[in-house]
Amino acid sequence: GAGVSQSPRYKVAKRGQDVALRCDPISGHVSLFWYQQALGQGPEFLTYFQNEAQLDKSGLPSDRFFAERPEGSVSTLKIQRTQQEDSAVYLCASSRGTWGYEQYFGPGTRLTVT
């Protein structure tokens, strides 16, 4: 069956540009997570959605980062006025329920800010 998909897989942006990263979770999955993984590090939590509700955005590093999931399915992570320190792999994960379910990760979007 289809897993979590993310697009684009690679994105190069000039400093100051805005970018939008898309996540298509597994169909029917209630929970959706965004993580940032810097080179040589483990994933760092950014934000969590339960259906269309953003229940936790404590990991977003600045107000330049914004995420939405308007219909409780596809999600978009937007980064405004990108900076070099935003360069990382952005991972999306989804899970079936809201309590203790396995998170399934997408392949990530590698963002490089030049």
Partner: protein, 112 residues
């Protein structure tokens, strides 16, 4: 400072050798998960341990959760080149697993 410290950071061994990697923290977790991540892919869950002292086996992989639920280890017996990858541990800060904190990982290379 990472909430979860993984060691060693890098490990290169020959096929057939045994190895153990560690995941340590001063925090108590409601559960702990181990993932393997390959280049260009997202992490894939290997196991979840919940009870202090719990031991789980997955073929040649043995996972142990510390009695105090602050640390964990992964032991691989007779490593194979297919075991090569980044091994990540992640601790759940709450019982619903919606607040996972990852370590930086151990990058394992198994040479044929």
């Amino acid at each position: 400072t990472q909430l979860l410290e993984q060691s060693p950071q890098f490990l290169s061994i020959q096929e057939g050798e045994n190895l153990t990697v560690y995941c340590n923290s001063s925090s108590v977790f409601s559960s702990l998960q181990w993932y393997r991540q390959e280049p260009g892919e997202g992490p894939v869950l290997l196991v979840t341990v919940v009870t202090g002292g719990e031991v789980k086996k997955l073929k040649r992989l043995t996972f142990q959760f510390g009695d105090a639920r602050k640390d964990s280890s992964l032991h691989i017996t007779a490593a194979q080149p297919g075991d090569t990858g980044l091994y990540l541990c992640a601790g759940a800060m709450s019982y619903n697993n919606n607040d996972m904190r990852f370590g930086a990982g151990t990058r394992l290379t198994v040479k044929p």
